[in-house]
C-alpha cells in the first residue's frame, strides 16, 4: 500500500523527497567541507608525530606560545623519538591579505613529503631567509624560485616550490623557524611542538613529564587534541547546526507533502477504515509513506552531495581544501536525522488520518 500510494502520486512524492534531498545534500556538504578542513588541519599538526604540545587554555593555536627550548628538552628524553616546533601565523602579501605561514625547522619531515616542483630540500636552511611556497601559494603570489616576494614587513627569497597534498599547506608559505619568529616578533617560541614517541613508550610518559616540568603546557595525543580543541568543536558544531537547519526545511516539506497527501485522499482513507484498517494501521501507513519519501530523499541527497563535493574538489582553487569523501558517521547521522524528520513531519498528518471518522469522511466534499 505504501509503495503503491507513493507511486500513484509521483509529483507529490518527488517534491517531498526533493525537500529531504536538499536538506541531506546541504548537511553532508557542509559537514564534508568543514570536516575536511578540520581533517586537513589535524594532518598539519600530526605530520609524523603522535602527540601535540601546546599552551594550556588558549582559544586558538595561533595564540599558543611554547618555548623552543622545550623541544630540545623533549628530544633528550628517552621516550621521545623526535620533537619538532611549528609556528603558525597569518601573513599578508601585496595582493593577498591572508596567507598561512608555517615556521618550521629544516629537519621537519613535512617538506620532504611534498613533490618539489622547483628547488630542493637542501635549499631550505634554518639560518637562512629563503622560504618555500606551496604550489597554490606560488601560483597566486606569482612567485618563482630565485625571485623574491614581499610578505608582511619583509622581503624573502623564494628557495623552492613544493606540491603538498594538504590544501592549507599547498596554499601556504614555509619559513625557516627563526625567520618566522622574527617576522612575527615571537623570538624563542613556537605555537606547538609535535612529538613522535620512541618505540615501546607511551604517551602517558610525555604527559607526566610535561605535568612535572612545564605546568602551563599541555601534551595530548592527536585524537585527544582533535576531540578537545575548541576551534574544531566550533566548526563541527556549526556544520551540524547549519545542516540541521537545512533539515528543518526538508522536514517542513515532508510535513506539507504528507498533509496534502492525507487531505487529498480523505475518502480513500475512510474506505480503508471501512475495509478493516485500524487507526494504528492508517497511522502506520502515513508514517511508512513519510519514511519512504525521506529514504528516497536521503539517497538522492547523498548522491547529490557526493557529486557536488567531487565537483568542488575538482576546482583548482579549492584543490586540497575539500574532503570529497563523506564519512559513514556523517551519512548515518544524516539518515538518522532524515528518519526523525520524517517521523516528526508525519505526526500531525498521521494523527489526523487516524482520527478520521469514516462515515463523516465519506460525506466530505
Amino acid at each position: 500500500m505504501i509503495f503503491t500510494n507513493l507511486r500513484r502520486h509521483r509529483v507529490r512524492t518527488a517534491i517531498g523527497a526533493t525537500g529531504i534531498a536538499l536538506g541531506v545534500a546541504t548537511m553532508l556538504s557542509v559537514v564534508g567541507l568543514l570536516g575536511g578542513a578540520v581533517k586537513m588541519f589535524e594532518r598539519i599538526l600530526r605530520s609524523d608525530a603522535e602527540m601535540v604540545v601546546f599552551e594550556k587554555n588558549v582559544s586558538d593555536l595561533f595564540f599558543s606560545n611554547v618555548e623552543v627550548a622545550v623541544v630540545d628538552e623533549l628530544k633528550s628524553q628517552p621516550f621521545v623519538k623526535e620533537a619538532q616546533p611549528v609556528l603558525f601565523s597569518i601573513i599578508a602579501a601585496p595582493d593577498r591579505p591572508v596567507v598561512t605561514c608555517f615556521g618550521i625547522r629544516a629537519s621537519d619531515g613535512r617538506l620532504k613529503k611534498g613533490e618539489w616542483l622547483e628547488g630542493r630540500p637542501a635549499d631550505f636552511h634554518d639560518d637562512g631567509e629563503g622560504i618555500v611556497l606551496g604550489e597554490r601559494a606560488a601560483d597566486f603570489l606569482h612567485a618563482k624560485t630565485g625571485g623574491t616576494i614581499k610578505l608582511g614587513q619583509g622581503t624573502y627569497p623564494v628557495a623552492g616550490v613544493v606540491r603538498m597534498e594538504n590544501g592549507f599547506e599547498n596554499g601556504g608559505v614555509f619559513m625557516p623557524l627563526p625567520a618566522c619568529q622574527k617576522a612575527f616578533h615571537k623570538e624563542g617560541v613556537c605555537s606547538v611542538v609535535t612529538v613522535a614517541l620512541a618505540a615501546g613508550h607511551e604517551s602517558s610518559e610525555v604527559k607526566a613529564w610535561m605535568g612535572k616540568n612545564h605546568e602551563r603546557l599541555s601534551a595530548l595525543e592527536n585524537e585527544e587534541f582533535s576531540r578537545s580543541y575548541s576551534q574544531f568543536k566550533i566548526m563541527k558544531t556549526t556544520a551540524w547546526v547549519v545542516g540541521g537547519c537545512a533539515f528543518l526545511l526538508g522536514g517542513l516539506s515532508v510535513t506539507n507533502t504528507m498533509i496534502l497527501s492525507v487531505f487529498g485522499r480523505i475518502k480513500e482513507l475512510a474506505i480503508a477504515r471501512v475495509c478493516g484498517f485500524s487507526r494504528s494501521q492508517v497511522a502506520l501507513m502515513i508514517f511508512g509513506e513519510s519514511l519512504l519519501v525521506s529514504a528516497i530523499g536521503t539517497v538522492a541527497g547523498w548522491g547529490l552531495s557526493a557529486v557536488g563535493l567531487r565537483l568542488l574538489s575538482a576546482i583548482p582553487q579549492l584543490q586540497g581544501y575539500i574532503e570529497p569523501n563523506i564519512g559513514w558517521i556523517e551519512v548515518a547521522g544524516a539518515m538518522a536525522l532524515a528518519a526523525v524528520t520524517a517521523l516528526v513531519g508525519a505526526m500531525y498528518p498521521a494523527w489526523y488520518a487516524a482520527q478520521l471518522k469514516p462515515a463523516q469522511a465519506l460525506r466530505f466534499e
Partner: protein, 223 residues
C-alpha cells in the same frame, strides 16, 4: 432464530443534537435474511446502515452484529475485517489503482494470505463478470464494472453480513438490474445476510423483507 443484526432503541443525531436522524429505531435481522430498508431520501436508511457497521456512533441504544457490540473500537475493527462487507452507492474505488489492487485492500487490512486471496479474487471476479478487467485502472472501467468491482471488494474477506447503501443508485437501468441480480445471487448462494438501503420499491420487493422507514423511525415491515 439465529440473530445476525440486533438494533435496540437507537437514537442518533447530528449537529449537536439539532438534527435527529434516528429516533428509537429497533430492528432484528436473522442470519441469511435479505432485508431492504426503504424510504425517501433523508429518512435515515444510510445512517442506520452506518450505525450497524459501527461507522457511526450512536447517541443512545444498542447495536449488535452476531452478538458482538459494535460500539467498541476494537470489536468494530474486527467486525469490519472479518464479518461485515460494505457497498456504497458510489463505488469509492481508488481511481489510480487497478481493480485487483482495490479488491486487495481488505486483505491487506487483515494480513491475509496472498495466494488464497488471489484465488478468491479470481473466483469472485468470474462470478461478477469482471475477471478480464482486474488489471485495468478503475478510471478505465465503466460505471457497472466499477460497482461490480466494489461488490467483489466487499466480499473479499467472505463476510457474514453485507451492508449495501443504494448499491445500484448511480447506475443506468440495464446495469442496475444486472448488479442487483448479481448481488442477490451472491448473497443467497452463500447463505449470507444482506441489509440493503434503497428508495426503489421494485428492488425492495425482491428482498425477503422490506423495512419501511420515515423520518428516522421504522414505519412498518412487509414480506
Amino acid at each position: 432464530m439465529n440473530t445476525e443484526v440486533l438494533v435496540e432503541d437507537v437514537w442518533k443525531s447530528f449537529d449537536r443534537g439539532r438534527i435527529e436522524v434516528l429516533k428509537g429505531v429497533a430492528l432484528t435481522v436473522p442470519k441469511g435474511e435479505i432485508v431492504a430498508l426503504c424510504g425517501t431520501s433523508g429518512c435515515g436508511k444510510s445512517t442506520l446502515l452506518n450505525v450497524i457497521s459501527g461507522l457511526e456512533e450512536v447517541d443512545r441504544g444498542n447495536v449488535r452484529v452476531s452478538g458482538v457490540d459494535v460500539v467498541r473500537e476494537s470489536t468494530r475493527v474486527d467486525l469490519l475485517r472479518h464479518h461485515i462487507g460494505y457497498v456504497f452507492q458510489f463505488h469509492h474505488l481508488m481511481p489510480d489503482l487497478t481493480l485487483a489492487e482495490n479488491c486487495m485492500v481488505p486483505v491487506i487490512a487483515v494480513g491475509g494470505s496472498r495466494a488464497e486471496s488471489m484465488a478468491r479474487l479470481q473466483e469472485l471476479a468470474v462470478a461478477t463478470g469482471v475477471e478480464h478487467r482486474l488489471n485495468q485502472r478503475v478510471r478505465e472501467l465503466s460505471g457497472g464494472e466499477r460497482q461490480r468491482g466494489a461488490l467483489v471488494r466487499s466480499l473479499m474477506n467472505d463476510p457474514e453480513l453485507l451492508l449495501c447503501d443504494e448499491p445500484t443508485g448511480a447506475l443506468d437501468e440495464k446495469n442496475r438490474e444486472k448488479v442487483f441480480e448479481l448481488l442477490l445471487e451472491l448473497v443467497r448462494s452463500r447463505g449470507r445476510t444482506l441489509v440493503l438501503a434503497t428508495h426503489d420499491p421494485e428492488l425492495a420487493s425482491r428482498c425477503d423483507r422490506t423495512v419501511r422507514m420515515r423520518d428516522g423511525r421504522i414505519e412498518g415491515f412487509s414480506n
